[in-house]
Symmetry: C2
DNA sequence: TAGACCATCTGTACATTGTAAAAATTGGCG
DNA sequence: CGCCAATTTTTACAATGTACAGATGGTCTA
């Protein structure tokens, strides 16, 4: 149909090359990465519910059925985007903790700030990470990335008697409480219940992470 | 709300009457209430994303275009459901606080339990309440019900210097932190990140509401 | 009581979506 | 060069939201 559009599309394909995924490039170049990029842009712009598989395919310059071969269905594409989001989340949390210095409390607070800032930087992406109805929770990649992020969070809290490989569901209440505090703040802000831009509010909330229960273990 | 208006025609309108389409005349007894009931049942069964306006109309025994007259579009129906959910939420929070006794800390903890139990009792309904992309936040009814619920929450925390009519966004950080703790716990549980059924976990988390900041005012 | 009004509901129609299946394209390998 | 398999398109179909015109019947008025 529009062959000139194809050549233009391939010519302007500026490789962002976020991860180490140089794998297949048959017809389109790297449709898989292009679709993920398109989906990320769509979600960031119109929200998770504003995303559509056909719109992503349109933006990537392919037909509506093209994504099926790479992702199966729309859930597959969203799962891939969420997996990348969890990887970026993990990196942001680690960077935040390291920026906090050496003390455990400072690292915890700094990680809390990083948690909140990551969510506020791209609210729709953070939203997608928790929309489990739209994701394939059985996908190995997603499970791995999720577990990695959760492990970073767990390491920030001294758990009392938690085995190293224990499920997040059975972890110590101190971890759950700290996680819930930060996660709940973010969700209330994203859902319009509170204003995260109120001066000093983020710092005040994150300071609550350092309650005696957490300090004494 | 208006649950006694359906005595006009022959159709008995039991709230849990699924699958039965009572009336087939042109004028339904109380289509508005019937559609809200159908939507609530659909959402509870298949989740917010599994809801469809046509399915709700089908369950109410009317044509696909019938809801338009009462709710405008799908967002209008979801907004009505969310409004009722916030009303029920407010009642549950008040009942929870009253069940806690007279002491401020006990009332706060008991309200926290009620918050969590309300969400876990019908996760999809609670989910809808915060899916602002699907709701008409400008609707006066929803704004009123939301504000009422938020006011109940705010009253449970002694705010330092908050004016009585102040916006939730500018409230004291102690309120935001307490709200975030409970809300975040619920969301993490609903989104499959933690297991709310772990024995004693809810009580342990709610006990964190009684940090010194809250106690000394 | 007759007729008109009007809120309510139906029928139809259209654009959009997800996805299944068959056909077509194309790069790589013998 | 010719075949194979991975990739993409074409086509098709069911479902959805909703706009529009028309049908229906309760109610109000004269």
């Amino acid at each position: 149909m529009n062959s000139d559009l194809n050549s233009v599309k391939m010519a302007q394909q500026a490789p962002s090359d976020l991860g180490a995924k140089p794998a297949q490039g048959y017809h389109h170049g790297d449709l898989r990465a292009a679709l993920i990029d398109a989906a990320k842009a769509l979600i960031a712009e119109r929200g998770v519910d504003g995303f559509s598989l056909r719109a992503a395919a349109r933006q990537a310059g392919v037909s509506a059925a093209a994504p099926a071969h790479h992702f199966g269905d729309a859930r597959g594409l969203l799962t891939a985007v969420a997996t990348g989001a969890f990887d970026a989340f993990t990196a942001a949390l680690i960077a935040g903790a390291d920026a906090g210095g050496m003390g455990r409390q400072d690292r915890l607070r700094s990680m809390g700030i990083a948690y909140i800032r990551f969510a506020l930087a791209d609210p729709a992406r953070f939203d997608l990470m928790w929309r489990s109805a739209l994701l394939d929770l059985q996908a190995a990649d997603l499970q791995r990335s999720r577990a990695a992020a959760f492990a970073v969070l767990a390491d920030a809290i001294p758990t009392r008697a938690a085995p190293s490989g224990s499920d997040p569901g059975t972890r110590d209440a101190a971890l759950v409480a700290a996680w819930a505090l930060v996660h709940g703040f973010v969700r209330l802000a994203l859902d319009g219940a509170i204003d995260a831009d109120a001066p000093g509010l983020i710092e005040d909330v994150v300071a609550r992470l350092a309650v005696p229960e957490f300090r004494s273990g």
